[in-house]
């Protein structure tokens, strides 16, 4: 620190305008430079692909093709979904809990830019990862199945396959953004993770166990089940149609993003 102060403070401007591109770069730097990102993403990939490869032939032999197909991506994708939800929640809560949010908003005082930047970077990463993972999971699952039974079930190009594989990717990316928006609203990691786990994993289970089948009609409107309709090949009569379900999940997510935007814009940091 003994170096002459003057060396770094000659007043030639170094800072340019605040831009969307700048915020996107900044958010990418933030995302890539903490270990938890890589832990969560690699866990998601390994579990999804691994589970798909092993579960599919064992658990589903003898079932009709679309069902096999769905299961091989679905089990694994549920694990990816959890990882992406956690990562999504932590995009904002990590900043609030460390106090970084104040540094971030002090250089991005037009606050919504920060939300769009985070949403853009995380959304792109989540979408790329979840589509790549679900493609790999399906391919591995199908290949493992072929090795076992000796004949193919289904492959890319089949409309069912395309919907399920890409659908799983889309749903995972949108649920990740759901987590991000929820984190921006709740601002606390522990509370955010509990809420997201309850909404996506615990409540659907509890309702299914506790309620008589005749009262379970509303379960299809839960975010997890609405999204699940897009990648579920074995649609039960009570599920929503795939794209309606996905649209509902997007609706929930958009509503949360709107609340997050309002809260970010109007409150104290």
């Amino acid at each position: 620190m003994a170096t002459a102060a003057a060396a770094g403070v000659s007043r030639i401007p170094v800072a340019g305008n605040l831009t969307v591109t700048g915020v996107l770069r900044s958010e990418w730097t933030k995302l890539r430079s903490v270990r938890s990102t890589w832990w969560l993403l690699s866990t998601a990939v390994i579990l999804t692909v691994g589970v798909a490869a092993f579960v599919s032939p064992a658990a589903t032999s003898g079932q009709p093709a679309p069902y096999t197909l769905a299961r091989s991506t679905e089990y694994g994708s549920l694990l990816s979904q959890l990882a992406l939800l956690v990562l999504g929640v932590m995009v904002f809560t990590g900043e609030y809990q460390s106090g970084l949010i104040r540094a971030s908003l002090s250089v991005v005082p037009r606050r919504l830019l920060l939300l769009w930047g985070k949403l853009g970077v995380f959304g792109a990463v989540a979408l790329a990862l979840s589509i790549a993972t679900s493609v790999a999971a399906f391919a591995l699952g199908e290949l493992a199945q072929r090795a076992r039974s000796g004949h193919p079930h289904a492959w890319f190009g089949d409309p069912q396959v395309t919907r399920i594989v890409l659908g799983a990717g889309l749903v995972l990316a949108v649920t990740g953004i759901f987590g991000l928006a929820l984190g921006a609203i709740i601002r606390n990691t522990a509370a955010g993770l509990s809420t997201i786990t309850a909404v996506f994993f615990v409540l659907p289970l509890v309702f299914r166990i506790a309620l008589p089948a005749s009262d379970q009609g509303f379960l299809r409107f839960l975010p997890s089940n609405a999204g699940g309709a897009l990648w579920d090949a074995a649609l039960s009569p009570t599920s929503m149609t795939p794209w309606t379900g996905f649209a509902l999940l997007c609706g929930y997510t958009a509503a949360l993003v709107a609340v997050a935007a309002w809260r970010l814009q109007h409150g104290d940091a």
């Binding site: 620190m1 102060a5 340019g16």
Partner: protein
Amino acid sequence: MIEVENLSKRYGDKVAVDGLTFTVQPGVVTGFLGPNGAGKSTTLRMIAGLDVPTSGQVRVNGRHYRSSRAPMAELGLLLEAKSVHPGRSARDHLLAIGQTAGIGKARVNQVIELVGLGDVAHKRVGGYSLGMSQRVGIAAALLGRPRTIVLDEPVNGLDPEGVRWIRSLLRTLADEGCTVFYSSHLMSEMAQTAKNLIVIGRGRLIADSTVEQFIAATTVASVVVRSPQTGRLRDLLDRPGARVATEGLDLLRVDGVTAEEIGTIALQAGVPVFDLRVERASLEDAFMQATQDSVEYGATGLENL
């Protein structure tokens, strides 16, 4: 330049800042003083657009900071609380901050060297000492070469060498035309660094002046006289407005009479004087005097120690 106009902030029932108005000029170092809970940090956060004022407004370099086109060129900020993710290295933290304004690795490395973190910048901030974290925050504030710099307790946790470095840094910035506004609890430090002062207590303005004016306005300078005939001198100085206290066998402390008057009186009476000096109050004395009615969290004494 920072212009604060009739600024108030209320949290529920609690009024943190109550109708503050002051201006911080460019080209000089301005200190920001107040007891704990006086509203300093809240005011600084409102200047940076982080807290939303209940009423009133703040302008940084003439405009509202939240609508600034090039925020990093306008304002550099160090807040008292940590504002770095512990799992990220100092280099990546500063890069992420700078990239919002198109600042790249070269400038980041420059400020890392400037604050003396060259050897540890690749390590995760979670393992840093208080002083090192503080340097990361100072680096972030300097990163965009802003026209205005606002620092909350910048010398917190720094070693004496770091404190001196901050002093010369702040002066250099001011000499180059920056607006420099900073808070500190170290009065002697501030007395050496700041030229102007804003003093607040319980969210209200107590003083807005230069350091010298503040000390002169709030305290009285006393004169210390050493003489072998203190008894006689005491009698000679016994007049309206004067307060004389015996401080030792041959020492008097006199308030309300100037050194010139005392010297003349002693000469005329033939009383020898060996030492005659004016003792000015310190900034700390002045601060205590000025804020004694607005101390929010005062200790009550040492009786139950």
